[in-house]
Symmetry: C2
């Protein structure tokens, strides 16, 4: 992969990169299409990264429909699919980690210890292998996108990070490879995540600025679903992911909720525009 890309670079071609864990859905495809539009060559990687899963998490049962993924990549005119094994990425003796402090310890990082260190380490490796001009991530994983932007800036990586909007089912449910874990009832209950975020935005538009009050209302809203167990509901500053008390500028509302045994996340960016209309 590295040799191929260095050949392209020698010919001054631009490379767009979409790193994924496979089980591709319309969210991934939106990233691939953007990469296709903006670059001479498009590289997709599929790697279910063991070091970003905790011991009690779903590494082994994470979906791996590789044939379907290859088919989708072909349909989207992806030029190269990078599909390494665990041993190729982490051979015996591997001991180097990339960590973004503070940002990795909050929100999803509080419950998933070591998760983001696993993410930044594998993304750093993939960036060195693929050497893209631009790399594409989904706003669905908002914290991940912010952490990777921080890593790229801090480590002076010559890569442009593009973060693309969340793709949702028409019901409002944010697309996720983990949605296949949901049964029919859970899938209905899972709509409380996106509905809660819409509710929050409406509250803000109608003038509410107190985060404690907004969070309380969101928690009540979500907890009205029997299968829902909240992990966190947070309103945070976009730069440091620290909780804010009042909404005075753009910010991120993020939540993680278990629906049955399935952990789902969703988020919404509140823009200056939304606030000024309040």
């Amino acid at each position: 992969m590295q040799e191929i890309v260095q050949g392209l670079k020698g010919r001054n071609k631009t490379v767009g990169f979409v790193p994924t864990m496979g089980a591709l859905h319309e969210g991934h495809l939106s990233l691939i299409r953007k990469a296709r539009k903006e670059n001479d060559f498009v590289v997709v990687s599929i790697f279910v990264n063991p070091i970003q899963f905790g011991p009690a998490e779903d590494f082994s049962r994470y979906p791996r429909p590789i044939k379907q993924d290859i088919h989708l990549c072909r349909e989207e005119n992806v030029d190269f699919l990078f599909y390494p094994t665990g041993n190729q990425m982490y051979p015996l003796g591997f001991k180097t980690y990339v960590a973004v402090e503070q940002l990795s310890d909050v929100l999803c990082g509080a419950a998933r210890r070591g998760h983001f260190r696993g993410v930044t380490t594998v993304v750093c490796k993939l960036f060195n292998i693929v050497q893209p001009d631009s790399a594409y991530f989904g706003q669905k994983d908002a914290q991940q996108a912010i952490i990777i932007q921080r890593m790229v800036k801090d480590l002076n990586m010559p890569i442009r990070i593009r973060v693309m909007p969340i793709v949702r089912h028409k019901s409002g449910l944010a697309l996720s490879s983990r949605n296949i874990y949901l049964n029919e009832k859970e899938r209905r209950d899972a709509l409380c995540l996106s509905a809660a975020l819409k509710f929050a935005k409406d509250l803000i538009k109608s003038g509410e600025r107190n985060c404690q009050i907004i969070i309380k209302k969101l928690r009540e809203f979500i907890e009205s679903k029997k299968t829902a167990r909240i992990e966190y509901v947070s309103i945070v500053d976009l730069n440091n992911l620290k909780p804010i008390e009042r909404i005075t500028d753009k910010c991120l509302i993020a939540l993680a909720v278990r629906i049955g045994k399935t952990r789902l996340i969703d988020n919404i960016l509140i823009k200056t525009y939304d606030i000024s209309r309040g």
Copy 2:
């Protein structure tokens, strides 16, 4: 710097890189000359990296003879000197670190907590900025060289690491920017480091294989100098830097000794050749 190098890369030129903390001596110059020989362009960086110094260490008094360094770089036909400020390398909000586990916690890393994390972080940044084909390090900092080789391999950096032999004064003293801290008497006492390593090699050549015995003799040898205080004397495996009990294959003998207030290090590689002659 990054733009300049990307321009060179676009023209398929090779770049050799010598990262330094300045106060250049013949050791650095041997690296620069090797880089000059092997590459189309040579980049030298001078940056006294604050995050690799502990709070009680010599960051503020570390020598910074920049005019002399620039002169030396010109004399050696260095193409680019990269000389950033602390704020440019670590702007407000910086929070990403690269760490090589285990290897960073032993030998010099045991006494200098966080030192090697500072080294790997800055070297990762410099590699991303300079994007060299080859980077040159001195065997004098043997542990640093091993850790950087590990980082480059683990993070798939497309860079060849070249480690060049220790350059010594004719007295045997390994060249170091910190030698200027020594007064005349200390400079004589400091010869015990290189003499001890020569002594160890002779012991091995004469058939001694027991590391405990070799280390005991080296300690006695060094402690015969009044100004010398040993930090460590270790015989380690080259791959994992773990202490070995018997010498059966090539290995590293490394030591750190304070001469007065000045901390000095030195080391010797024992090769299969040295052992087979025993």
